[in-house]
Symmetry: C3
Subunit: 263 residues, 3 copies
């Protein structure tokens, strides 16, 4: 994909308003739904096995986020992935805190193995832990730099047949064909909880309209975050301005701002 195609995806998404089904964590359900609405998608937060087969039959994709994992939710997630597979839908996995506990690492790997069509979006520590390397995580924050996770991402691409997005000071998108580095965004973004979760959900919105590399979501969230941060005194106003910016963003602004290189 070139810059033009990436930026154009924004219009494609808005024209088709895809339904993004989210099995996600309690912390970010509200702002994830708002980010999806602002970019032009149609979010639903659902998790019951009693309706997931139906949901997956008409969903655009399935977002799985393990941020507040427990023994009640794990079978719900696995059932949802099974239904996504049956219906040929892409699963977007956010392995929140992978490496911070054995439970999170194991469940992340189990979901990654089970999903047929898969995109993984995590921070460096999570991707490194998912690949089985020694990561330095503390809670859900990354202590590793995104640059140090590219090899781990390549391992995940091969191991799970996935495309992998690493968020950080620089973002990376790693596919079987190429590795891209994106240098938008802003250092204040990690001070808003669930910024990565929004990144994952928006990756799902683009996957639902056929953009399954993760490039468009990464580009657009990076550009929007950068614009929003320029107007923001702190993380409270950043969260608000990000939603406004996602809503107002146009193809031309994405093209003009996007810093993308193949590496």
């Amino acid at each position: 994909m070139d810059k033009q195609q990436i930026a154009q995806s924004l219009q494609t998404l808005r024209d088709s308003k895809p339904l993004v089904v989210n099995v996600t964590n309690y912390v970010v359900m509200n702002n994830t739904a708002n980010a999806l609405l602002a970019i032009g998608a149609s979010p639903i937060m659902a998790h019951s096995a009693q309706e997931m087969a139906e949901m997956m039959s008409f969903a655009g994709c399935l977002v799985i986020n393990i941020g507040t994992l427990d023994s009640v939710w794990i079978p719900r997630m696995l059932f949802a992935v099974e239904q996504a597979n049956i219906n040929g839908k892409t699963v977007i996995l956010d392995p929140v805190g992978c490496g911070a506990s054995t439970l999170r690492t194991e469940v992340s790997r189990q979901i990654a193995e089970q999903a047929d069509k898969l995109i993984i979006r995590g921070n460096a520590s999570e991707i490194i832990a998912l690949a089985g390397e020694q990561a330095q995580s503390k809670g859900v924050d990354a202590l590793d730099s995104s640059d140090s996770a590219v090899n781990a991402a390549k391992f995940c691409v091969e191991q799970y047949g996935a495309n992998v997005v690493i968020s950080g000071a620089s973002d990376y998108v790693v596919t079987a064909e190429a590795t891209y580095k994106l240098d938008n965004g802003h250092e204040m973004m990690p001070y808003v909880t669930g910024m990565g979760c929004s990144h994952t959900a928006i990756t799902g919105a683009f996957a639902a309209v056929g953009e399954v590399t993760g490039l468009a979501a990464t580009a657009i969230l990076g550009v929007a975050g950068e614009i929003a941060a320029e107007k923001s005194a702190g993380p409270g106003s950043l969260q608000m301005n990000l939603l406004d910016t996602l809503y107002l963003l146009d193809v031309e602004t994405v093209l003009a701002r996007l810093k993308l290189q193949q590496v």
Copy 2:
């Protein structure tokens, strides 16, 4: 009710600060509580059967919202409705995503049948699905116009002995005695998640002080949303400005802005 009575309800609500008990969905718990606080009510989010009998004995009303339904929460909701009935409290039902899955449709109808004193607040697709007509829903968004749901609402009024509020470009309030059309609000409002859920909760706050038609909540949220949207660049600032506006709103502004007609 005439305009003057509707607007005056705002003062009545603030004077008595009613306790609104919410069994609601994970996505909107935070902004629903904030909307209730801003308008002058006292919200509590509670769901445990171990305390619901006590809660219903001193609650002003019971709000039931099925947005993130599952087999653990369904019996909690039904138990809460039973306790509301025993204590003579009004139930306000938000059938989120009714029509989007069989589960949601069936549970919505079950709750509507069980509640003795009932107000239903939904979008057009939800009300149409609740009435058993063929609705066009996608996830939790309405694809039907609110105008097309008035007959379905009339069916629900008769079937469930309820007052029914339909949210949309125009809002409708349908009771056994009359049908009202309200034309406030703003097209940006559906881009904030849980705007309908706040509408439902505020309907509960007014029901708790004796205004059980749904008119006052619909009028006041419409006027507040309209004022807030005029100051907002996008849905992020709209969410913030809506809370500020609800907090600052006075009876005179509601009267001056309200577009209400009986139809």
Copy 3:
């Protein structure tokens, strides 16, 4: 602690970025995480018994908030407290709605009894109910003034070996050695849901760096809330401005604004 030490704690916190593990309620998970990030801590929201032993081994402290209590979460909370005890970590208890239901009162006392190292942060009605006196609560709001809860707090200090923080128009910090009164904050703060929950979580962040009286958190949230409210038209903008203010706050501003006296 004198004013200088209290204000200086802010720098200590930022330098060490402690990991605060929160077993908290659905309503406030998002804004609590954001408040912790803004002040400079590293939050994780986790509750599964399958990972809590691991979490407590590297956590800075444990925050327990009973705001949306049920029979599924109670054993999770008790297990987490047990693990905190084993690892010598301080537990910060927020007895949300203590007194509003028998369940909440009993579980609050059970947790308070079980925790070895304990700080309690509540409003006046909650602290009075926890101490077994007759409280006037309605839902989760306090109807009692904070001044009237000081004796109840002293009882809790003795009964549970805890330090106790009472939030209200004046805040009080009660320890075995002394009682402090703090007069910052703003009357608009109770109109933002979860403001007390953020207070509790920030108390945890300071406890994780050795400030276990509750004074630093109370001082800093009071000063930040006061500054934020001065810029805010209503509770929507107050929530946003509070996060910005916590992020930007410096030691000098805390020192200049803090109204603290021993009583």
